[in-house]
């Protein structure tokens, strides 16, 4: 039925799938940003660099330790999460009482350091990372061909997003987190170690970024600047969705990925800019963002 528009269903669904994959990265990254912002009051500009670190961790694990994709899926977020904990202890903990903008500037500086260092050692061209053998090949769904790995990325990231949502919104730990976001002093008075919770929250948000990086490694090349352009798009996603709601971040992430995919089919020239245009429109119509609460 799409043939009459001059577009094959193969191309359309292919682009929509890529859109969903990008969307799952947007969702994972904006989720991490939202969780970190909720607890630390810091917009983590290093997020893109940490996504890149996740991909490089997977690459190093394979090259130097012989550990494949499935190990990387667990170890890379853990390792990068630990570097996040170190960053929080070394730098971020001194900023909580200051204006938000200092957190943004410091994490921007850290992103420059991390990306600059990797660019010096690995240049700007990407390194290949092969797909896990179990997920090579694909399924013919009749209207399109679905590569197994891409299907896995969408399903798995959706599962991680929903699990995060469940932990934060439905468990006791999540209740502590939400309470500490609202009123840290009171929660401390109940005998809960809020500073440690803040540290671990940062580590967790960073681990989510690294996880997205591992999943991206077989699809895109592993390269030092893979995160720096992505983070700006993710910022736009965060502006559109608002950081007030976890589910909002997930829905906005996937939704914008799909919109981007559709744009690639119908108006490829605008595919780079469509998310920014959506952001401008949302700001005009609903300044607080789709899921944001008006201040």
């Amino acid at each position: 039925m799409f043939e009459m528009l001059g577009i094959s269903s193969q191309a359309l669904f292919g682009q929509l799938l890529i859109g969903l994959i990008n969307g799952s990265f947007y969702a994972l990254l904006s989720l991490g940003l939202a969780v970190i912002f909720g607890m630390l009051n810091i917009i983590n500009f290093t997020h893109g660099a940490q996504y890149m670190l996740g991909a490089f961790a997977a690459y190093f694990l394979l090259e130097y330790a012989g550990l494949g994709y499935w190990w990387a899926l667990i170890l890379a977020p853990l390792l990068v999460g630990i570097t996040g904990v170190i960053i929080e202890r070394l730098f971020l903990q001194w900023l909580y009482k200051l204006d938000h903008l200092y957190g943004l500037l410091l994490t921007f500086g850290l992103a420059l350091i991390i990306e600059g260092t990797f660019r010096n050692y690995f240049g700007s061209s990407g390194l290949p990372y092969s797909m896990p053998a179990e997920l090579v090949g694909g399924q013919n769904l009749g209207f399109m061909f679905l590569p197994n790995y891409r299907g896995w990325v969408v399903v798995f990231s959706l599962a991680v997003c929903l699990a995060t949502w469940f932990v934060i919104e439905r468990t006791k730990l999540g209740a502590y987190l939400r309470a500490a976001t609202e009123n840290p002093t009171l929660v401390r008075a109940f005998g809960i170690n809020v500073p440690r919770m803040i540290t671990l929250t940062y580590g967790f948000g960073v681990a989510l970024a690294a996880l997205a990086g591992v999943m991206a490694a077989p699809i895109y090349n592993v390269s030092p600047q893979m995160g720096s352009n992505l983070i700006i798009v993710v910022f736009a996603v965060v502006v559109i969705g608002g950081m007030g709601s976890i589910m909002g971040a997930i829905v906005t992430g996937f939704g914008l990925g799909l919109i981007e995919g559709l744009t690639k089919v119908f108006f490829p020239e605008a595919s780079n800019t469509v998310i920014f245009i959506v952001m401008a429109i949302v700001l005009l119509i609903r300044p607080a963002g789709l899921f944001g609460r008006t201040a």
């Binding site: 917009i43 500037l105 410091l106 850290l110 420059l112 600059g116 010096n120 800019t273 401008a280």
Partner: protein
Amino acid sequence: MQRVATPMAKESVRARSEMIAFVVMAVILAILPLFAYPVFLMKALCFALFACAFNLLIGYVGLLSFGHALFFGWAGYVSAHAAKVWGLPPELAILAGTLTGAVLGAVVGSLAIRRQGIYFAMITLALAQMMFFFAVQAPFTHGEDGIQAVPRGKLFGLIDLADQTNMYITVLVIFLGCFLLIYRIVNSPFGEVLKAIRENEPRAISLGYKTDRYKLLAFVLSAMFAGVAGATKALVFQLASLTDVDWPMSGEVILMTLVGGLGTLFGPVAGAFFVVSLENYLTTRIGQWVFVVQGTIFVFCVLVLRRGIIGEAARIARIKL
């Protein structure tokens, strides 16, 4: 007891220390070409003006724009195009760049001031990135090549700017003129309202100020001055390229202002000279590590030197700079 200064007297003491500092700065800048390479100085002056424009927003309204490269770079493109393709004289080319900055500032500003704080930074960054992609795709910017071999032309049809000394004097006059204008804006009743918004926006609103209008006007002015800087730089280097619209440029102007001192009058100038000289010195020696050095300075300034060089000096000397 005699030393208790009345507000009026304090005001005049402050004005005096600032005026003396301004004269000292002007004299230094006038004789510097005897000791340093003029093209390097012109580059530093353009960035100093860019940083002053940026500081107008962050230092006096408390708004962190992460997209100022947009105004700087696009003003450069338009003035380069005007001088090369339309054959406009340099004064009109710079004017065209300035207008570009102001118009883009009005568009971006009216969107960005709809959200506060951290969102403001993200919106400006995103819109600047969007315009960067336009610059990559638009035919008149010549993509990766940029607009090259822009003629400097004759100022007012009389002064040949191909001469390095004439160009330097022109850049210096533009810089000092804009600097005084910014000084005037900051110390006007309008500037006082801006500072009130920075300190406590809800209170300014409760006093009856339409703060959105003030913020928008401040944004447009800041973008306009960034436009002057970008347009002038395009003429000095006879080049407008993607580097000037890309996000690292927005980061660089933040760095200059932060190093010099947010919200100080002379900080952005000192910061710009510091960063430009550092990069000049480093690129010949360690090349690629410049980003790492920049990042380290960011971290250091945020953790240790939040007032910046000039801010710290002013605190020690107990004067206002």
